[in-house]
Symmetry: C2
Subunit: 253 residues, 2 copies
């Protein structure tokens, strides 16, 4: 922290003497202009990452670990995947309630809700569905970095897309919860009437479980299943996730 | 809260009896399939928003007000705008430090950092720059909804784009901070050497302040200016923002 503190004490008038770490694209002798560049005296590190050449990474003096200390918890992503009607939002709600009642800060990223804002430009064609998942994964990562227990509730039918979201997080911080409910159960519930519409050919594009596959996770951290013919109450499902978080140390800083 | 609690107590086995509120697109008799739909028993409201027809809004039982109570603060967006080299990141860092030291949860969305992840698919062409700002605004809104004091640090040269970000937030929750530094000062600092490159024609596309305009805010909540020839230290700039937050009640729930 002392380095950061010292950096912060550098007078604004001295900023002009700071070296630039923006890299020049040697292929063209031109650089991508940063539309967000600025005279940061907190500028400590510069990294170069795939897909975003010549953009400087600003490291701030308040880090994830500091926010976690403040919140008495560890930031992570609980990624709830499963068929439509499998109970993802049910679990997400029960989980956010149970954690909140323990004084933990959570945030639910619901695929449908994000479609209203951040992803409102996306259609339901295959490319846009991939992009929908990618963006939710990236936002979940930001929330996790903020120290929050981020609960993402998205069908996310393809293993590849889910694994891509896992890959951008620190080991352990992506906790996949698979709602392993039989299709016939989900279809009997059909809370939004979507299966009925899909079977009647009234859905634009394909529908997971009907004419598009759902690829079950191979190594999810948590599996939620029926016990015989009975679905566990939401609180019981939430407890299973909370026990996992507790055991892995996410409920303390 | 009692309604939510009751809803949560609905057994999973009863979910199939819940009514669907998904809307059918009457123009085509087909609906957009929700790729994130699920059997939520927390499903309380349904709204229809521009650009995302037929998608159900899931309202969760833990709301912004609950998270704010937990954090003893109010979620909002501090949008720092100004030329490259005007000190946006400097202020963002000083602000996040000062607020953190008061026990407040903040998160800095730096335009450059977001380019590494969420916006790594975007170029620097005019359309993508608009989209870059739009997405940062949407993510900032989510952070604000999480109860966090979100500090966005982005040149965001166009009034229209900034106002679009303001418009998606509740009144008062978008706090625009204008780094009103003369171009010659920013250019003299040139912390990343970008002005030098721009003047030499070595920047791909246009560069704000050199060959692309910066449109100053007309009604920003806070203006940071030099005092004569002197720039205030970052802590003093941060104090100005904190005084505003305090006066407006954002530092308590």
């Amino acid at each position: 922290m002392s380095t950061s503190t010292n950096l912060l004490r550098i007078k604004a008038s001295r900023m002009s003497s700071m070296k630039s770490s923006t890299e020049i694209n040697s292929n063209e002798g031109r650089i991508n202009t940063s539309d967000d560049s600025n005279g940061s005296d907190c500028h400590e590190t510069s990294t170069k990452r795939r897909g975003s050449k010549n953009i400087v990474w600003h490291k701030c003096s308040v880090e994830k670990v500091d926010r976690q200390d403040l919140l008495h918890q560890k930031g992570c992503v609980i990624w709830i995947t499963g068929l439509s009607g499998s109970g993802k939002s049910t679990l997400a709600c029960a989980l956010t309630r149970a954690l909140h009642s323990r004084g933990k800060l959570t945030y639910v990223l619901d695929g449908d809700n994000v479609r209203h804002g951040l992803n409102s430009d996306l259609t339901f064609n295959p490319e846009d569905r991939v992009e929908n998942i990618r963006r939710i994964g990236e936002v979940a990562k930001l929330f996790s970095d903020a120290g929050i227990i981020c609960i993402a509730s998205v069908i996310s039918p393809y293993r590849k897309d889910r694994d891509a979201c896992r890959s951008i997080l620190q080991d352990g911080d992506f906790i996949e919860v698979y709602m392993d409910m039989p299709l016939h159960v989900c279809e009997a519930r059909d809370p939004k009437g979507l299966y009925r519409l899909a079977r009647a050919g009234k859905i634009k594009g394909s529908f997971t479980g009907v004419d598009d596959p759902y690829e079950p996770p191979l190594n999810s951290e948590i599996i939620i299943q029926m016990e015989g013919e009975v679905c566990s109450p939401p609180e019981v499902m939430a407890d299973k996730v909370i026990s996992y978080l507790d055991a892995k140390g996410y409920l303390q800083a």
